[in-house]
């Protein structure tokens, strides 16, 4: 039964290798076609699905050693030593140059722009003005409330206003005063 079944399976002929593949593959293997030019299927498979370090199969057959010092180019290495995938996904020189030029322009504009220090200065002076105003208001409030010690100390801007007292106490003071 087993032998019969095996023979039955073995008797099924496999599909033939497409003849047109021979010329294409041998042309590639002999370097007739530039390395960077590949079939669409190959480009798709290797630029997107196969990593840079991939397709090279393991070659460490028993009795066949490969020296570690020997360089092992990937199967898809181009003539200049770059993997095909790297070439196909590498941006062009023009793109890099354009990007660099844009950055140079941005940097130059950044250096020549005079507004930023002014803005910083004006913002700091605005802070000082509001601080002075707050002090004046504090003094005015102290004078209105009849606190002579704080009114005398009006020249000391660093003094913080006293914490507000209960309304009842303030009202009593106003009545007494």
């Amino acid at each position: 039964m087993n032998a019969d079944f095996e023979k039955q399976l073995q008797g099924q002929p496999l599909r033939e290798l497409p003849r047109e593949w021979r010329d294409e593959i041998l042309a590639e293997a002999n370097g007739a076609r530039p390395s960077g030019v590949r079939s669409p299927g190959a480009v798709m498979a290797h630029s997107w699905l196969v990593g840079r370090d991939s397709v090279e199969p393991k070659l460490d057959l028993p009795g066949k050693s490969h020296g570690s010092t020997e360089s092992r180019p990937t199967l898809s290495a181009t003539a200049d030593g770059l993997p095909v995938q790297a070439v196909s996904t590498w941006p062009s020189l023009r793109a890099w140059a354009g990007l660099a030029a844009v950055w140079v322009v941005i940097f130059a504009l950044h250096l020549t722009a005079p507004d930023e220090p002014r803005l910083a200065r004006s913002s700091s002076s605005a802070t000082m003005m509001s601080f002075t105003r707050m002090n004046e208001q504090t003094l005015m409030m102290a004078q209105l409330l009849g606190q002579p010690d704080q009114a005398d100390a009006g020249e000391a801007p660093a003094a913080l206003p006293a914490p507000p007292k209960p309304r009842s106490e303030i009202a009593r003071k106003q009545l007494v005063g």
Partner: protein
């Protein structure tokens, strides 16, 4: 083996066997083409690879197997499930004018696609590559017993799957 193997001779001698093996493993003609091209480009550019190789067929089959497994693993993680792809109907065998034979071949291709890739590789090399278990073990870098057991399991599954058709044809 000479120091500069003729790439055309290598192709003519081994490409048909590689084609069937890779097609059965990858279940995709474009992938088969890509792996074969990579393999022959490598052999063409580095003829020294074959220096000292005793079993040339086994060596190129091993290269092809490793490249195919590498491709399957990468695509499994990135694009599609190869197990599902393997179950899709595909023309692995030659077309037959006999309808019964043709149906059997189609079902056989389907049944092979349902096998795990490691069993499929062993079954293919044994049945259609006509390799011994020793040669299969060396080619696939597995122990001899593993090769034999994978073949047995794979064949059992094929028999179970194809029994009605096989009985009919027989």
């Amino acid at each position: 083996m000479g120091s500069s193997p003729n790439i055309e001779r290598l192709y003519d001698e081994h490409a048909p066997a590689l084609f069937g093996f890779l097609l059965n493993l990858l279940r995709n003609e474009a992938d088969t083409y890509d792996v074969m091209q990579e393999l022959f480009v490598k052999l063409g550019r580095r003829p020294a690879l074959l220096e000292g190789v005793r079993d040339e067929r086994g060596f190129v089959l091993r290269l092809a197997h490793n490249a195919a497994i590498d491709l399957i693993r990468r695509r499994e993680t990135r694009e599609r499930n190869y197990q599902e792809l393997a179950r899709e109907p595909m023309a692995l065998f030659a077309w037959s004018a006999d309808p019964d034979e043709q149906i059997f071949r189609e079902k056989l291709a389907e049944a092979l696609g349902e096998l795990p890739a490691d069993q499929r590789a062993v079954v293919h090399l044994k049945l259609w590559g006509k390799l011994t278990f020793e040669a299969i073990a060396e080619t696939l870098e597995i122990p001899l017993n593993t090769a034999a057991s994978r073949y047995r399991y794979g064949l059992d599954k094929l028999r179970e799957r194809l029994r009605p058709l096989y009985d009919e044809i027989k």
